[in-house]
């Protein structure tokens, strides 16, 4: 039995804004009956102020899908499209006092329907979230694109395949795409570090380097009785020092090139300079 909050139960039992606006200015549709949940969002928008005057939904899905849809409509009414477009799945979940982990995908569905509706209004093209050629489908069971997965990872700070499944349903069917999701996660977080290294504070830089030393480099050196220590950081220049057996080892140079430089450059980025002191 799910541990739904009172707010979820309230929005499930007495959902707000059920229905379909007949002459809607924007329509957003996500999901399908095969996927187990689907949401059709219709909006009435003031042409001058771009404010959402009215919002209605129709949802096929479980209690938390219905509650998330109801919450979404309440949250966006009266907001401008600009303001509404900033609403994330986290905001929807927070509005409901939280959702069980396994049900977070319901809040993501709400966010996606809103995105699709805003797209529809801006482009006047299609009301459905169109997954075209440019969007690579990762999970074929639930038709989840790479874009959706990446967005969920970024917004919700997801680290494991199970988390991605909870938030997007990807991998929750036959499970064949789990390897691919794992790779997306790994690449995403690797690129995250690469992108931001030069913008990081010194403390952030130290933490990341220490983590790579502890997790990836020192376990390899430990077998030979040595280890590597971080000495200093100067912009993109990282100063390190061999200790233990490494400090007297003849092949320390090779180890430095083959292990230390390789690991740090691949994990952080190619532009950093590593200096042995």
């Amino acid at each position: 039995m799910w541990n739904y909050t009172d707010k979820v139960m309230e929005h499930f039992k007495n959902p707000k804004n059920v229905g379909e606006i007949k002459d809607a200015d924007a329509v957003g549709e996500v999901g399908s009956i095969v996927c187990g949940d689907a949401l059709k969002l219709t909006l009435k928008i003031d042409p001058q102020s771009h404010k959402i005057i009215d919002a209605k939904f129709k949802t096929f899905g479980c209690a938390s899908a219905i509650a998330s849809s109801s919450a979404l409509t309440e949250m966006i009414k009266g907001k401008t499209l600009e303001e509404a477009s900033k609403i994330t799945n986290q905001n929807i979940a927070e509005y409901l006092g939280g959702l069980p982990d396994e049900k977070m995908h319901c809040s993501v569905m709400g966010m996606e329907a809103l995105e699709a509706a805003i797209d529809n209004y801006n482009t006047k093209k299609g009301g459905k979230r169109i997954i075209g050629e440019q969007e690579k489908i990762i999970c074929k069971c639930f038709n989840v694109s790479e874009k959706t997965i990446l967005k969920a990872i970024e917004l919700n700070n997801l680290k494991t395949v199970d988390e991605v499944t909870h938030f997007t349903k990807a991998g929750g069917g036959c499970g064949q795409c789990k390897g691919e999701i794992e790779k997306i996660l790994k690449d995403f977080w690797a690129s995250k570090i690469k992108m931001n290294f030069s913008d990081m504070t010194v403390v952030e830089k130290i933490k990341i380097i220490e983590k790579i030393l502890n997790d990836d480099i020192n376990p390899k050196l430990k077998a030979d009785g040595g280890f590597l220590e971080l000495v200093d950081i100067d912009n993109n220049k990282i100063k390190v020092k061999f200790l233990g057996a490494c400090s007297v080892c003849k092949s320390a140079d090779t180890t430095f090139k083959e292990v230390v430089e390789k690991e740090l450059k691949s994990k952080i980025n190619g532009d950093i300079e590593i200096v042995l002191v």
Binding site: W2, F12, K13, P15, V18, E29, G31, I33, V34, G36, D37, A38, L39, K40, K58, T59, F60, G61, C62, A63, A65, I66, E102, K103, C141, F142, T165, K169, G172, G173
Partner: protein, 398 residues
Amino acid sequence: MKKIYYFDNNATTRVHDEVKKEMEPFFTKLYGNPSSMHFFGGQVQKYVDESRKKISLLLGCLPEEIIFTSCGTESDSTAIYSALKVNPDKKHIITSAVEHPAVINLCKHLETQGYSVTYLNVNEDGMIDINDLKSAIRPDTAVVSIMWANNETGVIFPVEEIADICHEKGVLFHTDAVQAAGKIDIDLSKNKIDMLSISGHKLHSPKGIGVLFVRKGVKFAPFLLGGHQERGRRAGTENVPYIVGLGKASEIALANMQKENDYVRKLREKLERGLVEKIPNTRINGLKSPRLPNTLSISFGFVEGESIIMLLSEKGICASTGSACSSGSLEPSHVLMAMKIPFTHAQGTVRFSLSIYNTEEEVDYILKVMPDVIKRLREISAFNDETPQFENAKDIHH
């Protein structure tokens, strides 16, 4: 406290008052270990023996063919692992696509351990084809495991016929009879089933006790190793109170089976007829197959099962769903998928499973509440009969 309308008896059942009473002395008075040499423990042994006798009468087997286990799942695992151990050169297993997770997930695991598994398909009424079984048996088939009755749909499989086929081909046959025991007249003296599993809490005794029947003469390898309990076939101190409880529950089930089945069937039929009459666009799953008298699997088009269960639960009604969202998995149940029930309906499936404790008033209450629950959810639903992409879905019966 609000009244509970308990229609989830395939999940678990209420312990019978007489069963509870029969068990009580074994917690604080007769608490000895039956393996002990002294009189205090030794006197308990005869109650274990008596219980074994009572269960053997329910199953139509010999008392010594009964092994006590901790649950249905343990019985299933023990049976299948035993069959594989006594046939070390045979690496093939046959089961059905609609087995309980206790069997199907074990088989999936065994596939990663060098075994190959054939999952027999079912038709849209949830029934397997005996000819599929015949052609699936290979010289290296170690065991066939097919349930006696399905937990979700109540569909009853022809396990006695299957046992004959397996016997003829020299292949061991195991059946998970967890849902069948107490509801179907089981007489193991008249068929060739080699191994059979039952679970106590499905027939009004407590959770935590199961039985594995192993026919005399069938080669057996124990799953749990340790002490000499159960004549070396299942180590671990006997769960005496629960064994006694299951004995009593079996005695009651045997004495009342016909009467209870007639009673429960009448209620089920009233519920089934009433729901189909009052609510448009429904589908009874397994309708054309023989079914357990207590089980009703019914699908409601264009609504999702968890929301149905949650709204029913608000009204005090306990049922279960074959749909995904309630269980944490994301896909509809493997049973409904194997039956190729259209997605429009599979997602909105509810299982009502009855017992002797249900009454006609309770059925009337469900019939009163249910149409409104479905109507409300259909008003919210993004789909309906008119949704263009579902034109093909209209030829569903009912």
